[in-house]
Amino acid sequence: MVDFHNVSMAYGRKAALALKNVSFHVNVGEFVFIIGASGSGKSTLVKLLTCEEEALEGEIVLGGIPLRRIKRRAVPYIRRNIGMVFQDFRLIESKTVFENVAFAMEIVGASRRQIMRQVPIVLSTVGLRSKADVRPSELSGGEQQRVAIARAIVNNPKLLLADEPTGNLDPETSEQIMALLREINRGGTTVIVCTHDRDLVDKMKQRVIEIQEGEVIRDEEQAGYAFCEI
């Protein structure tokens, strides 16, 4: 699903490398944590996948498409295969929960009928069917993140990319959000979560890719946050 092959990246010609020779492979249907301290390069990795930035060196392949070779105008179509979830939810305050989710479908040209059918199903999946007509400000942090997840999955993307999805949430709510992401993953969607939430990573026991100062220092299956030496 995702292939990083010797990828290096810097913001500007003279700037220090934000990523150095990063290589890893994520299979279809995998659940992967990318962990590391703030400034380690997690967000750069996300920006490369969403084509916000371009790699300085190396090759990134997403769903079989080499990102270096795609034209600027094709970027939106690449992004339609990725569902994005952010730490700050990024919901539109002037729209209701339903409209926030429907918005993502409108953009790809779905009909009113398709929207009316699909959005309630997705809202049920995230447990917010009853709050369809509520505005985001009336929801708790956890609920807002659920709306963001609903928006991310409503177009059935192949990859769900979550950048610090629990950064603004309490531990209990964070666990619920992670459980939801895991459920979506069980449905076949590849999920990549960038986080530095130690407890959650330890509890989930999934594959962990650790980045430190732009380099992959660990890639371990069913791992915890900290490296365990036997």
């Binding site: 339609r80 918005f103 953009i107 040209g109 928006r151 177009n155």
Partner: protein, 316 residues
């Protein structure tokens, strides 16, 4: 078992894609209208400015249309009168007659003897014709009445003819033609200058209106980008917002101009026959052309003003 041919599924995929395109177009127009309604005060300021600019452009259009029509009518009517000197000789008259008849600027001409002119004066004077009783018709000059091909022909025609001996004076509606051509030039220049300044102001205001609209929705735009909106999907509603401003401004300016022109027409035509060269053009004959000019200018200015901001602030 035979597998199904691939064609129907390809067709249904194409159908789905074209439906999606229609939905995208519908969304784009809806967003364009929403954008226009979102900031009513800014939209109002933009429409007013565009309207003002179009009022100037429209007034300029109406004036130049009328001036052109009058100049054409006067130019082709018989305003050129050639008076010959007293004592002009027969060969001189023949030479002038030949020159006039062979001149390419001349559409038609008539020649008047002193007796013809005497009769014409008597007719013109009517009841006061007795004044001419003591006048010997032979004291009056010979003359030519010339109809030219157009108003521009006068200069070259005059230059050519006045060199012939025996000519006393060449008279034409100098004042009228000069006034119209010089006024047209002044009005054209003033109209262009005023229109140009208002055009710049309109562009500035519309691009600011769209900039505010874009900045107010920057969060929404960034989300749209992440969800996979194309550049055109994000940009076109703003261009439409500008175009709507132009269309609304154009219709208001059109209505105001026709109203004002109707008043001017009624006032100016009180003592003028419709068949006269001085008659103004009827508003009915101008309305279509005026609307087309205003709409075209309004839409162009609106869309261009938006495009300036959109290019600068919206990039996927």
């Amino acid at each position: 078992m035979k597998s199904k041919p691939a064609t129907p599924s390809v067709k249904s995929k194409e159908r789905t894609e074209s439906f999606m395109k229609i939905n995208v177009i519908k969304n784009t127009f809806r967003e364009g209208f929403r954008g226009f309604r979102r900031h009513p005060m800014i939209s109002f300021a933009s429409v007013t400015t565009v309207c003002l600019m179009l009022l100037v452009a429209g007034a300029f259009f109406l004036f130049s249309k009328n001036a052109k029509s009058i100049v054409e009518k006067i130019g082709t009517e018989p305003p050129v009168q050639i008076w010959l000197r007293n004592g002009v000789t027969e060969p001189q008259i023949t030479a002038i007659k030949t020159a006039v008849s062979e001149s390419t600027e001349v559409k038609s001409f008539t020649f008047q003897s002193p007796q013809d002119n005497y009769d014409h004066y008597r007719e013109t004077l009517g009841e006061d014709a007795a004044l001419l009783d003591s006048l010997d018709p032979e004291k009056l000059p010979y003359s030519f009445t010339v109809q030219l091909t157009g108003p521009d022909a006068i200069t070259s025609f005059k230059k050519k003819i006045e060199t012939y001996p025996g000519i006393d004076d060449i008279q034409y509606s100098k004042v009228v033609l000069y006034f119209l051509s010089s006024t047209s030039l002044t009005v054209n220049a003033a109209g262009l200058a005023a229109g140009g300044i208002l055009l710049l102001i309109s562009l500035l205001i519309i691009s600011n209106m769209v900039r505010i609209s874009i900045l107010a929705r920057s969060e929404e735009i960034s989300i749209m980008k992440y969800v996979g909106a194309t550049n055109s999907y994000i940009r076109i509603p703003y261009l439409l917002e500008g175009a709507f401003t132009g269309i609304l401004g154009a219709f208001i300016a059109w209505a105001l101009l026709l109203l004002a022109y109707g008043r001017i027409y009624d006032w100016a035509m009180q003592d003028t026959a419709r068949s006269s060269a001085w008659a103004l053009l009827e508003s009915g004959s101008l309305a279509g052309g005026l609307l087309a000019v205003l709409l075209l200018t309004g839409i162009s200015v609106g869309a261009l003003g938006s495009a300036i901001s959109v290019r600068k602030y919206v990039n996927v």
